[in-house]
Amino acid sequence: MYNKTLALVVLTSAGGLAAQDFTDHAAKHWAYRPVSPIEPPTVNNVEWEQNPIDAFIFDNLQNEQLTPNPQADKLVLLRRACYDLTGLPPSQKQVDDFLADKASDAWTRLIDQLLDSPHYGEKWGRHWLDAVRWAESNGYERDLDKRNMWKYRDYVIDAINADKPYDTFILEQIAGDVLPNSTPESIIATGFLRLGLYDDEPADLELFYYDYYDDIINTVSRSTLAISMSCARCHDHKADPISQKDYYRFLAHLRKLAIPSRIRTEDAMSRTVFSKKEQPELEKKIEAATDQIILARLKSWEAINRILNRAGSRATETALFPTNLRYGFTAETWIDSLPDPDQMDFMAEGTLGDGTIHLARNLSEISRFNNPGAAWAIRGRIHIPVGGRQDFKATISGGGWMYVGDTLVFAKTGSNQIQENFSVDLTAGDHDLTLVVSGARNPTLNLTWVRDDGEIPWVITSTWKNLQSRVTNNSDKGQPEGDDLASAEEAEIASWKQYTPLEHQLKDALVTAAFNGNEQKPTHVLLRGNPGAHGEEVYPAFPEILAEGGYDHPVASEEDARLILARWIASKGNPLTSRVAVNRIWQHHFGRGLVRSSDEFGKLGQEPTHPRLLDWLAHEFVRNGWRMKPLHRLIMASKTYRMSSAPNDRALAVDPLNDHFWRYNMRRLTAEEIRDSILQVTGNLNPQVGGPSVFPTLPEEVLQTASQAAKRWQLDAGPEHQNRRSIYTFVRRSLLDPMMSTFDVADTDVSCPVRFNTTVPAQALAMMNSKFANDHARLLARRIGKSAPEDPFSLVRRGFQLVLGRPPQQVELQYCVDLIESMRQNYGHDLSTALERFSLVMLNLNEFIFLD
């Protein structure tokens, strides 16, 4: 049954609730009813009847005897539109152009221009990333990175910029790998299924699988359907008509998805994606080249092992070989990576005592490897008798890193040779030493430790090298093993030359994405959610309360069950999908959804404040081909969107929470918007769109909170990386960027469609005292200084223009000039430092951080 066809089977009753109950629930609860076409109300107001959104809002306001606020002024509208669509403040030019544009279509053209900007995808992509638990690492002890996860982020940004229909967007993310016409792009989209936590060392394997499914079920059901399926994992949902059986039938759709377990590499969940044209060709080439390398490598290592066996353990030529260090060897690494010895699966281990590093515990271990990289780790203690400068002269083929205690001696990636002297200051005493050498071929090392007093306490020389030199120069020449080694080496070098360029293509083509296992495994209801307690067997089916006609008509299908699920979610008939989508769009324009609980449309959630408008929008959205851009245009063209946010005492008394939208809701900028805006107003934002994530500076205190901070945050020092938009900062689960988290960035572990909005002193401390804030105050001061005459009045005026897009009022001007004067007179600062203090104030203004 599972091999060829799947059946959506007839189910007569679901645990606890009789079929009749479902019908009643469906009739009662608004969210489960189908979206039906609705006519906008007629209102007797010429201005408020033109846009259907306005008609709905105005009609409702009239019923409550509330008056809508007047239109906000032009600068407010410009800032509102720029932030809502791109997450960035308007540039000086945008301000000048828009304020000067008196044409009647100025607003429409502005919206079009912003929707065409690639920054639109970055802003709205981030909203989606919130809903899908975006992060680029697995969490838990190793918290390993997920291979090329950024490609999923770029998929989201590109899809939104291209206004990809939302139904396709969802379909691709849930089932892009099993679509009949799947493309590399649609495969990358399924990174959605892999974004979650991944415990690579689960204590209970069965529980691990069901936690993995639950993460997907929770994310899919909350982000696309706004129902909490996960509540039914252990028992029937307490508030909604979702049975435990529904949960496991939902889960059954996912049973063919491969869930690799206990894999401790960046490639735990990766697969290749070649472009259609290159795929067969490249695969064949890579396979051939890899085979050659592995064959040659096998031969050479077999020869080496025979030499070692014949010669017995033999000391190296140098008497300075450190005998107290341990080594480990593996052939399971990638070429460009700097492996962590705690995560290396050693094929052989031992002490450096006898001067040789063995390659494997036995020959059969050698044939185990299938990656082209190899690495050694050397660990132990180093005794520094007198503190001070130490030199480590290193010649390494490949990359490597070395720590003595907490001091990083060096860390270099790449497959080129390192030949360098590294000097470090070390304190006296015993320290841990960790050294890793990794490379494409047999990594080799020559490391000489030179103490401050010129003594050379030890030298580590590579055994490979010794062997090679023994083969080429001395007694081993002419021995069969020696000849074998020499020719195998030659063959390997030749095969590497073919392989290396392919390897980069290969790595680029790896993505963390979905792939199926061989079979659709059977699914059982798990009693009390316990993986050990199987209840009845269930088959893929949609939640009964939602499946319009689906469940009571058995459908045989050749299609993958996951694809069937995806098609159902992305269908017009699904009462939730379109409502949830338009509600989210409304939420990010107005500060709250028409349904405030935008991830919970069930009974635990909120009723929509404007149910008819919600349905009308949902219907329109689907009618327009599930495209977001027409909806943005419609919303932003409305008078409702353009209202001012000013208070009105009468309206506040009647409707303090603005349930009826008598005004526009003010909002604080998001964490990303705050950082990006600072970069923008100081003129330093790097607007580059897409590409691998970047590692901007994090405070040292924060890096120290990680168990392996220095190795794990490979700082991108260049300004081009430092000043990218926040969406491009690498998101590592175990390391919180304090600037982001204090301003309520989305949590990485669960779907977060509504962010918190807190005000705490830690935010003030970050904005006043941090290096980031002060560095940018200085940059802003410089920018102000460059473009204004050197008198305080002109400088303040310029500062207001740059930061707020408007001139200061008289009283504001006076406050700021007083500040500058006070800094000069009372605190002895020159004008440029005084200007920095003023700039810091500007970046901290409520007007800068809040939108009207």
Partner: protein
């Protein structure tokens, strides 16, 4: 100025419920729990922010918690869980079912405890020679010798001990305490974490994360030297007067901005947050001024000796912080990987001699100092790691022990806990809890209970579920623990 300040206050409460207190989900919470007296008490004064002081469910025995986290997993059979049989079987292979990072095994070579055990105090508690100083405090300590956790693997076990779940994403114990009670000192963080000098534990910030709660409830890392809290001091090193002058200008401008937006309490709150931040800057550093402590006190914590200075300083800071109203403090002994923490897979003796030797005197000093200052009776001190260690050897040679979550020891003191007692026990090898097994959730429930919070009624609505620290099924506190 707002024309009707009372009106604004009422608004602020409602606003909080809808937007601050838990995202929009908390609106639903209001609906569900509006009859719940606790919920009303919890949110009654929240216009001041999420960390405003809240009334507990019932009178609290403990007002604050110091959690001494022995990261890596100390061996219970070498520290407090005296097993005479183990000495006898040293080196012999026995049938025993163990589960650690090396997987499941059904037999193993017994490693006899490497330290001598003696009885101490009037209560006659067993303590090994690893803790000569702590041994003098046993009459104030209750040992929990039958602890169990859901995982014997560091990553998930750390999350279990800190957040009650082996799956990442839940708020940590300190977050729950601050969510339930708020903080009594707005000038200091309510939840402080001090890390080992070798680095953070694995999973880093996830161990003190607020998970699905607002970030205001997450732990703040606190350093024992230099600037204690991130960004507490301006990188400009400016004098207070100058900074005050800057904040004054900022406030003037923000007040101008507020005039036409008088109803927006978020704007007001942000203005107030600068005042608070400024106050924090002047008061928080005072908390770390150890010069004010007498030489005798410093010696008591081992500050006069190189090896105990670091942990001793953190323990002394912990006392100063609890005196200043910090609600929850966690100090890590051990960080990073391998033998930088209690994870004794290799040489048990070297590892435990180091970590016990670094912490014994400071911990004893902390207990004695709290006691003589009258702070111990309402300060709960917890000691333990994420799990214990196996009675058998991990490898063919050597003394290293693998992880063990089937049975291990933790201890608690102060905060309404009866001292000089032992609850629960493991089997004769110390492998598995047999008498009165205590789950990590029972410990968490007890902590909340002692703090005046009902563990089964302290909830946070998330994803459609009323989430609890103790899980959906709930968990009981350990009644016999309470004095």
């Amino acid at each position: 100025m707002p024309p009707t300040p009372n009106f604004c206050r009422r608004m602020a409460r409602r606003e909080f419920l809808t937007t601050v207190g838990g995202g929009f989900s908390s609106l639903a919470l209001t609906g569900l729990l509006s009859q719940d007296a606790f919920f009303n008490a919890l949110h009654a004064s929240t216009a001041e922010g999420p960390l405003a002081t809240k009334t507990p469910h019932f009178p609290a025995k403990a007002k604050r918690v110091i959690f001494l986290f022995m990261y890596g997993g100390p061996s219970h059979v070498d520290t407090f869980d005296y097993k005479p049989e183990l000495f006898k079987f040293d080196g012999k292979t026995v049938k025993v079912n163990t589960f650690g990072r090396g997987g499941r095994k059904s037999e193993g070579r017994v490693v006899g405890p490497k330290w001598k055990f003696s009885q101490y105090g009037e209560s006659g508690q067993w303590v090994s020679d690893l803790f000569p100083h702590l041994a003098t405090c046993v009459d104030d300590i209750t040992f929990l010798k039958s602890m169990q956790a859901d995982s014997p693997i560091h990553g998930s076990a750390m999350l279990m001990m800190n957040s009650g779940s082996i799956v990442s994403g839940s708020p940590s114990l300190g977050s729950w305490v601050n969510y339930g009670l708020g903080t009594v000192n707005q000038d200091l963080p309510g939840y402080v974490v001090m890390l080992d000098q070798s680095g953070g534990p694995i999973s880093g910030a996830k161990n003190w994360s607020s998970g699905y709660m607002p970030a205001s409830y997450q732990g703040t890392t606190f350093r024992s030297s230099g600037n204690p809290v991130l960004n507490l001091k301006s990188v400009q090193n400016m004098p207070f007067g100058e900074q005050q002058r800057i904040i004054r200008s900022l406030n003037h401008l923000n007040q101008e901005h507020l005039k036409s937006r008088y109803d927006n309490t978020n704007l007001e709150a942000r203005i107030a947050s600068y005042e608070l931040a400024y106050k924090m800057q002047s008061t928080a550093p005072e908390a770390v001024e150890l010069d004010k402590e007498s030489e005798e006190t410093k010696r008591l914590y081992g500050l006069d000796r190189e090896r105990t200075r670091d942990f001793g300083t953190k323990c002394l800071l912990a006392r100063r912080l609890v005196e200043r109203g910090v609600r929850f403090i966690q100090i890590y002994s051990g960080g990073a990987h391998n033998d930088h923490n209690w994870d004794a897979h290799g040489d048990l003796e070297v590892n435990h001699n180091k970590h016990a030797g670094d912490t014994d005197k400071p911990i004893a000093g902390l207990l004695k100092d709290l006691k003589r200052r009258g702070l111990l009776h309402d300060t709960l001190v917890i000691w333990g790691g994420e799990f214990g260690r196996q009675p058998t050897a991990e490898y063919a040679k050597g003394t290293g022990r693998d992880h063990n979550s089937y049975g291990f020891t933790m201890w608690v003191a102060g905060g309404g806990v009866k001292g000089g007692r032992t609850i629960g026990s493991t089997d004769e090898l110390g492998n598995r809890a047999v008498e009165r097994p205590l789950h990590v959730k029972n410990l968490h429930a007890t902590v909340l209970q002692l703090m005046g919070l009902d563990p089964n009624n302290l909830t946070f609505l998330h994803g459609g579920l009323d989430k609890r620290l103790v899980g959906t099924a709930g968990a009981d506190p350990i009644p016999e623990l309470v004095a």
